[in-house]
Every structure is written in C-alpha cells, then in structure tokens.
C-alpha cells in the first residue's frame, strides 16, 4: 500500500501541475509532492530495514537494495525540488509560465519514472521506466531552447535511446536463457536470481555484455559517457543535480541487479574485470578533462563520470568491502554532487556565466554559497571529514584484497590528478577580488537551507555510522549476493 502511494504522489502531482495555470499553485503542489514523496520513501526505507521485502501484483517489489535507492531518489528529489522553487522564480518570470509549467510537470514525471524503475521487480518494466527517465528529461535539458541546449538534448536523446535499446536486447537474452532452461517464466528478477545457478553461462555472459553497454550509457561509464557533460551542463541546476546525483545511480542499480545474476551463473570474474576496465577508463578520461576545465558545470559533470568510474571500480573489486564501498560511495556522491549542482545554479544566477575565469571572489561576494561550494568540492575530491574519503578508502582496500593492485594504484594516482585539477579551478573561483558589477549577497537564502542537511549527512557518513544504518547495509549486501 505504501508502495502504491509512493508512486502515485509524483504521478498525480505531475498530472495536476500540467493542468494548473497559476505559478503559486504549481509551486505548492510541487513542494508538497516532493516532501510527501520524501516522507513515504523514508518510512518505506526504515520499514525495509527489517529485511523482508514488500511485493505487489508481482510487478512491484521493494527489497533492501530498492529501498536504499528509493531513499536516495526521494531525499535528493526533495532537496532539489525545494531549491527548484527559488531557482525558477529567479530564472523564469511570469511571461514564460508555459516553461515553468513544463518544468514542474516533467520534474515530477522524472521522479516518478525513477521511483518506478527502482521499485519494479519486472526487468522489462524497469527498462521501460529507465527509458522513461530519458524521455522525461529531454525537454528539461532543452528548457532554455538555445542552440547549445538543443544540441545537448538531441545528443542526449539519440545516444540514450540507442544505448538503452541494447540493454533491452540484453534483457531479452537473459529472458531467453531463463525460458530455455525452465520453460514458461515471467521476466521477474526474483525468479531469475532463483534459477540463476542453472542458466547457461555463455548466454548470460553475452546478455551481460549488452546490459553493461546499455545501462553503462545511462550510468555514464567511459566510452558511452559523451552525452553526459553536454546534458548536465545545459540542463537547469535542479535537474542536473537530480540527473548527476541520482539518475546515474539508477543506471548503476540496474547494472548491480544483473551483475548479481551473472555472478551466480558465470562466476564474478567476468563481470568484475570488465567493470574494472570501464571504471578505470572513466576515471582516466574524466581526469584528463578535469586537469584544466574552463566551465564549472562541465567540471561537475566530468566529476560525475569520475565518481561513476570509482563506483564501477568498487563493484568490479567485489567482495564485502568492494560492494559496501560502492554503495556508500553512491550515497556520498549523490549528496555532494546534488548540493554542488544546486550551488552552481546560484553561482550562475549571480555571475551570469559558466566560465570559471568569469567567477572571481565568490567567498567575498556570496559568503554562504561560497563556503558551501568549498565544502562540497572538498567532499567531492575526497578529503577526510567528509564521506567520499572513507568510501574511497574502503573501495581501494577491496582493490588490494581482490589482488588487482594495478587497478587500485592507477585509480589512486588518477584521483590525485583530479584533486589537483579541481582544487585549482575552485581556487580561481573562490578567492581573489570580486568584480564590481557583481552585487554582494547570496541570490536567495531559504531555498538553500535544506542543503545544510546534505552537508550534515556527508560529515555523518564520513565520521560515524550508527548501527541501524550498518545493519541496513548488511541487508542490502545480502540482496546483492555478497553476504550470504
């Protein structure tokens, strides 16, 4: 019942907004929907902490892993949603009410599709939902209808659609492997994992290849990542926060589901080596772009590619530490990246340029935004008090335990390179004298308050992890097949 409520809230909100005319109505429905989704998602996640999954008409099923994802989607959705109200008020005035309506409606639709993708048990429906996320965000990327917006949106659509079609082929082959072995069977993950030991390893490996390329495109893994910098830098701040923070994790979620099956059938070696290779390639390419980057939104986008690479490395290293590190890093990355993209929105509003050299003396001009931006970037490049430092430590520890020392060492070196590049860029923005025409003071204060929650959670994940949360992660690991 909670499950249906969770999915209904964004769907209904989206429908209602698309009908309403006045901006205030839209904003209120949007805000209430986001907060309601957060509450329901939170309750669901806490209840699922106990471990036994909740199923509904063999279509929807929330086990520990999906509860984990629901919690992330709901939380970041709420933070970005509240911020979006402040952002849209300054970005679009009342003459462009049509765009505002489009923004809020598609925002809620986007949250709905993501929630559907992580809560469904049927792999086909999951594929459709993920394809739905692309379709929902395409118009959001192009909301300013500029030349570059159009180009980014078209590339995003064509590449995601082509990429995900391959994922569907992978799902079909997985279904074929199941039906060839057992005969008539629904395309549900639980049944698939049940009969996984008996499946034909070659077909499952072939299917996993397509899954890796297909959902890898959605997750932003290396050779398939080229749409990501354009789409995330052109989209408005709240949307790129959601896309970077959560949508990439949904892609990784799908990969983890199929990896669980493939590992049981064909042994972990196959999926691990390729995940590690793609992860390292993502890290390397992102480092090349981050060494000297001129546009701070593209910098954040490339750092998403980098962190997806780290999570893929974590999944590739596997074992208790590897999987736990990857999950933790997903949360840390979602929290820090969404905060940073929202702040980049405020910076864009204040400085009217995405060029790093154009932004000077941010700490002087907008002290709050500047300070939080600094904390966010420090978290992102892996400095101690924040979460990513611990999760990266755990991932690389798994790397050494999985005897893939070469990958781990190269990964650490590339991270140091990224650290140098990003710190340099951020320093150029934060310090120095702010130019005169930039009026001092933050663009708006109250919509940024919820972001304090991000910071507190980041430090929380960095230093201490209460037992309840540890036990929750234990269940998630059991689902993924690491802890038996």
């Amino acid at each position: 019942m909670m499950l249906v409520l969770l999915l209904l809230i964004p769907a209904l909100a989206s429908a209602f907004i698309s009908l309403s005319r006045r901006r205030r109505v839209m904003e209120w429905t949007h805000a209430l929907a986001s907060i309601a989704a957060l509450i329901v998602g939170g309750v669901l996640a806490v209840r699922l902490g106990a471990g036994e999954p909740v199923a509904l008409w063999d279509l929807l099923r929330v086990d520990a892993l999906s509860a984990f994802m629901v919690a992330i989607v709901a939380f970041v959705g709420a933070i970005a949603g509240i911020y979006a109200i402040g952002y849209m008020r300054l970005e679009f005035d009342d003459r462009q009410i049509r765009r505002v309506r489009l923004f809020y409606a598609l925002f809620q639709l986007f949250v709905f599709t993501m929630l559907l993708a992580v809560t469904t048990d049927n792999l086909g429906v999951m594929w459709a939902a993920i394809e739905g996320t692309t379709l929902a965000t395409v118009f959001l990327v192009n909301i300013h209808d500029s030349h570059t917006g159009l180009e980014a949106a078209y590339k995003y659509l064509i590449m995601s659609s082509v990429g995900i079609a391959l994922a569907f082929l992978g799902t079909v082959l997985m279904y074929y492997a199941a039906s060839a072995q057992v005969g008539e069977i629904g395309l549900s993950w639980t049944s698939l994992i049940g009969i996984a030991p008996g499946l034909d390893p070659d077909i499952v490996k072939l299917a996993f290849v397509f899954i890796l390329i297909g959902y890898g495109t959605k997750a932003g893994l290396a050779p398939m990542h080229t749409w990501l910098p354009d789409a995330h830098s052109e989209a408005p701040a709240p949307i790129s926060a959601l896309m970077s923070g959560v949508l990439l994790n949904v892609g990784l979620y799908a990969l983890m589901r199929f990896k669980a099956v493939t590992d049981v059938t064909a042994g972990p070696a196959f999926s691990s080596t390729w995940l590690m290779r793609f992860g390292l390639l993502s890290l390397g390419l992102a480092a090349a772009f981050l060494v000297s980057q001129r546009n701070y939104k593209r910098m954040l986008a490339y750092s998403s590619v980098e962190h997806t690479g780290i999570i893929a490395l974590g999944l590739g290293f596997g074992g208790y530490w590897g999987m736990l590190g990857a999950l933790l890093h997903m949360v840390n990355h979602a929290l820090s990246k969404s905060m940073l993209f929202l702040l980049s929105g405020s910076i864009l509003l204040k400085y009217r340029t995405t060029d790093i050299r154009g932004v000077r003396g941010l700490l002087q001009a907008a002290p709050w935004t500047g300070f939080w931006f600094l904390c966010g970037v420090l978290a992102l490049i892996g400095l101690p008090p924040f979460g990513p430092f611990v999760s990266e430590f755990i991932i690389f520890r798994a790397g050494f335990e999985a005897h893939s020392v070469a990958y781990a060492v190269t990964g650490i070196a590339l991270l140091a390179l990224v650290f140098a590049g990003m710190l340099g860029s951020v320093n150029r923005m934060l310090y120095g004298q702010a130019s005169e025409q930039v009026k001092p003071g933050d663009p708006f204060r109250w919509p940024m308050m919820p972001m304090a929650l991000n910071l507190i959670l980041l430090v929380g994940f960095g230093l201490l992890l209460p037992d309840g949360v540890q036990e929750f992660f234990g269940h998630v690991l059991k689902v993924v097949g690491v802890l038996v």
Binding site: V162, F168, I203
Partner: protein
C-alpha cells in the same frame, strides 16, 4: 498448443527473416528520405507477418494481438509521421553520409559475420525451429546501429534507431516467441514516444540550424 509443427514453419520463418535483412540492406542504399521511409514500412510489414506466422504456429493468441499492434504502429503510424516530417522539412541539398555506399555495404557484410559469430551460443542451445533466424535478426540490430553512426541527417538517424528496435523485437520473437505482454506494451509505448520527441527535435533543428545535418552541431566540445 502446437510446439513442433511440420517442416514448412521453419522454412517460412527463415525466409521472412532473410527478407527482413534484405530490407535493411536496401534501406541503407537509398538516399532519398521518402524512399527510406517506404523501405522501413516494408521491413516492418515483413516483421509483423513473421510475428503472425510464429503466433499461428506457436499457438499463442497473445502474440497474435502483439503482431497486430506492431503492424499498426510500425507500418501505419510511424511511417506517416515520418512522411509528414519529410514533407514539412521540404527539399534539402543531399548530405552525403560519412562512408560511400560500397564501403558501407562491406561493413554491413562484416557485421553480419560478427552477428553469426556472436549468436553461435544462442543458436547452439536453442531448440525452437525458428532459431536459425536469430543471427539475421541480430545482424539487423547491428546494421541499424551502424546507420545511426554513418548517416548525417536526423531523420535517417531516427530510421536507424527504429531498425535497431525492429531487430531487437525480432530476436525476442525468434528466441522466445516474444516477451511477456506487459513488457511488449511498455516497449511500444517508449518507442512511440521516442519517435514523436525525435520528430519534434527534427523540426527545431531545422528551425535553428536550417538543415537537419546533425554532424555540424559541434558547439559543445572539450
């Protein structure tokens, strides 16, 4: 339910699969947009016929309904949407693809060989009579993918994407007599919406860049 009918079912299925692959080759060669859309319509027709044949021999009414729905969307709705787009865009100077026709055909042949090599394990373990068509279907997927890479015009890229979708539907059809209904519906819905959105984008690209050559959209780099 009749699982192993007499011989002709397998040969009919193989014939239709071969026809499907032939259509995709032809689509590759034609340069004029309207001809390409017609080729796609014919290919979808062949595919819906194959679905009907499999539904008849496989004896599942559900698959028959899917075949009819497939025919309706892929043979009627999408082609006239695309022809409307072609007429709206109007005449354009011909934009040559990256590779010449002969090189494209050579590559497609290569892709077919790759398809056979890749689909060998599926063929080996599949007991269904329609299993020989699977490599042809997968070849259709690869050729569709290659079209999106090679062709510069937006509309042809959409056709490439649709060929890819057809190939995947065909693989599902031949390997497992189609995937469960709920999934099939989801896929059709997504493909339809994707094509509509792509069509909207083609108009906007035409409006902004006054040509649908997607290659010269290169502002966002580095």
């Amino acid at each position: 339910m009749v699982l192993f009918p007499e011989l002709p079912f397998a040969r009919v299925a193989n014939l239709l699969s071969f026809l499907f692959l032939l259509m995709s080759f032809l689509l590759l060669i034609r340069n004029s947009l309207s001809a390409q859309v017609r080729m796609f319509a014919v290919q979808s027709g062949v595919l819906s016929a194959l679905a009907a044949v499999v539904a008849y021999f496989g004896g599942s009414r559900e698959l028959f309904g899917v075949a009819v729905l497939f025919a309706f969307i892929k043979v009627i709705v999408i082609p006239n949407v695309l022809t409307r787009a072609v007429s709206k865009i109007g005449i354009q100077r011909a934009v040559a693809p990256y590779l010449g026709t002969s090189v494209t055909l050579a590559i497609c042949a290569g892709l077919v060989v790759v398809a056979f090599y890749v689909m060998a394990p599926v063929m080996a373990s599949n007991r269904l009579p329609t299993s020989d068509g699977i490599p042809l279907a997968f070849a259709g997927v690869l050729i569709g993918f290659f079209t999106t890479v090679n062709r510069r015009r937006a509309l042809t890229q959409i056709l490439g994407f649709l060929m890819l979708e057809n190939g995947i539907f065909m693989v599902a059809l031949l390997a497992t007599y189609g995937v469960p209904l709920i999934v099939e519906l989801g896929v059709f819905l997504d493909v339809l919406v994707a094509v509509l959105i792509l069509e909207v984008f083609v108009y906007r690209i035409k409006h902004n860049f006054d040509s649908t050559d997607v290659g010269q959209m290169g502002a966002l780099r580095g």
